[in-house]
């Protein structure tokens, strides 16, 4: 007879696949991707304006484009996906199935991140090809691209967390806020020393540790200038980012389980 309810893995995979297919159809995705590819191409033109290391411009712009468009895609596509489903009540019949809500959200995450990963791979391929054509080895850029992917894990997790909590406009705003704050968290350390002793200092320290420190995941200038990294840095940074991402996804799952569908 019919099985009564699916395993966690199979439902996450099923929903992930479905989400992937849905995200692939979002036109915003293609818009952003094409724009990113154009920018990478344009960097070739920009390099004509500079004196000296022309490849540096291409690498800088390329990595910046991959990172920035990755984040934009994570936020806009991610937020709109969840919103559309709720708005159009597609989600009602899904939640009536014997699938735990947390599995549902985990599946969404898997699907969404797969699309982002695909995006990163496509953009990186374009960038790497451009460099290879010019006779420059692109492989040193790989660690930076890898950590950009890790950064996207965290941003996507936040996008899903906020989508479960509030409307799409606020979700996007909050996710961007976290992204910006994560890149500027080092300034909290500077602020801590300038601020008078007491609660303010604790707040600064607390926020610094709580916010995702995206600077740690940012190897763009390291790879472009060929700077040496301490041993095991990439592993540590990946562990930091992925661990953080897991926690935020768990939070998102919790938020989604508590959600009421009016």
């Amino acid at each position: 007879m019919l099985e009564r309810h699916p395993s966690a893995l199979s439902s996450i995979v099923a929903i992930g696949l479905n989400t992937f297919r849905e995200a692939i159809r979002d036109r915003v995705l293609y818009l952003l991707l094409v724009f990113a590819l154009i920018i990478i191409g344009v960097s070739r033109l920009l390099s004509l304006l500079t004196v000296g290391d022309e490849e540096k411009i291409i690498k800088d712009v390329g990595l910046a484009a991959i990172s920035l468009f990755g984040v934009l895609t994570a936020v806009f596509v991610g937020v709109s996906l969840v919103f559309k489903e709720i708005e159009r009540r597609t989600v009602y019949t899904l939640l009536a199935q014997p699938v735990a809500r947390s599995h549902f959200l985990a599946g969404k995450f898997v699907g969404l991140f797969s699309v982002l990963l695909l995006n990163v791979v496509l953009m990186s391929t374009a960038l790497f090809s451009l460099l290879a054509i010019r006779g420059e080895s692109p492989w040193p850029l790989l660690p930076a691209v890898f950590l950009i992917a890790v950064e996207l894990v965290v941003v996507t997790a936040f996008a899903l967390l906020f989508s479960s909590l509030t409307n799409p406009v606020l979700s996007s705003v909050w996710t961007f806020a976290v992204y910006v704050a994560g890149h500027l968290s080092w300034s909290l350390l500077l602020l801590k020393d300038k601020v008078p002793e007491g609660i303010a200092r604790w707040v600064c320290t607390g926020l610094y540790w709580l916010l995702p420190n995206f600077t740690r995941l940012n190897l763009k200038s390291h790879v472009v200038h060929g700077l040496e990294l301490p041993d095991g840095y990439i592993g540590l940074a990946a562990l930091y980012g992925l661990g953080y991402g897991v926690v935020v996804v768990a939070l998102a799952c919790w938020a989604f389980s508590r959600k009421e569908f009016l």
């Binding site: 597609t90 014997p98 009016l262």
Partner: protein, 310 residues
């Protein structure tokens, strides 16, 4: 056939919503108790805004009740095992545009835990049951409202759930569509399933329900077997007479067409008298309509506070 455990039992259900910016509070569902036996068709009726959809959402776990308990086949409704025995169709459903009917049902079958070997044949069978076999590979964005509704029913019944919950299943359908849905619901009951649906189309409910409940402003003001609530006896007759009325006969009101009058008589005796009079005079009897209490009368009486009849 029906066993002891209720298919669905709701006790003391309450749900309130806070108003905008936390000001004010509106109680959507105010103490609802109902029990549906296995193998019966239950209709939850009521005007718009009565709380039907809110109640159903709470049964489905889409909303959390403030108070009360919901059980399905004896299990708490939040159990996954309970949801496995459940099929649901929301009001005005909308599904993924880009999937075909087949892909759509296949996805839902996966979520139900059907193995890959069984999925294909199951989907085919289901498409046949709802009459969409010819459109198996059409993209959902090309579906008409009626076809979408049928597909919605398909996913609700595909896994042979013991309890099927339908929120306004007839809405937006033409008479043909509504007939098909009614037939499907009857079919489900005949194969031992329990059906719980909400509607504001009373005629449909009257035709197929075993039991009804009338919801008004969050309260269940009437509930019970349809046969008990709505009696079968003739209350009065309405006779349409064309031409001049016999002397002494008053018309209830003027009918639409010229020279047509509507006369009401309280029983068979009075009816015979009237027919004789008309026959003897210059008028003609156009139609005779025996009026029974309909669900609509009951409904209007309950919701507006008038008594049925005159």
């Amino acid at each position: 056939m029906a066993s002891e455990v209720a298919a669905l039992s709701i006790a003391g259900l309450r749900k309130g919503f806070s108003g905008h910016l936390g000001i004010g509070r509106r109680t959507a569902v105010d103490g609802v108790d109902l029990s549906i036996r296995q193998g019966e068709i239950f209709g939850l009726l009521g005007p718009n805004g009565a709380g039907k959809t809110t109640t159903i959402k709470m049964v489905l776990g889409l909303l959390r009740p403030d108070e009360g308990e919901i059980r399905m086949f004896g299990m708490p409704s939040s159990d996954r095992a309970a949801r496995a025995r459940l099929g649901y169709l929301p009001e005005n459903p909308y599904f993924y545009d880009y999937l075909t009917a087949r892909e759509f049902l296949d996805f839902y079958a996966r979520l139900q835990g059907v193995s890959s070997a069984d999925r294909g044949p199951l989907v085919d069978r289901t498409l046949e049951r709802v009459g969409l076999a010819g459109r198996a590979d059409t993209a959902l964005r090309k579906f008409s409202k009626g076809m979408t509704q049928r597909l919605g029913l398909a996913q609700a019944i595909q896994h042979e759930p013991d309890l099927v919950i339908l929120d306004e299943p007839m809405s937006g359908l033409d008479p043909q569509g509504r007939r098909e849905v009614r037939d499907l619901i009857l079919e489900l009951r005949d194969s031992g399933k329990t059906v719980f649906f909400s509607s504001h189309i009373l005629q449909d409910a009257e035709m197929i329900c075993d039991r009804v409940g009338i919801l008004k402003a969050g309260r269940l003001i009437s509930s019970g077997l349809l046969d008990e609530l709505v009696s079968d006896t003739v209350r009065w007759f309405e006779v349409m007479v064309a031409g001049t009325l016999p002397a002494g006969v008053e018309s209830e009101r003027e009918a639409g067409r010229e020279n047509e009058h509507l006369v009401r008589v309280p029983d068979v005796e009075a009816l015979r008298e009237l027919l004789d009079l008309v026959h003897a005079g210059e008028g003609q009897v156009v139609s005779v309509w025996p009026r029974r209490d309909t669900l609509e009368d009951l409904f209007l009486a309950q919701t507006l506070g008038d008594k049925p009849g005159a």
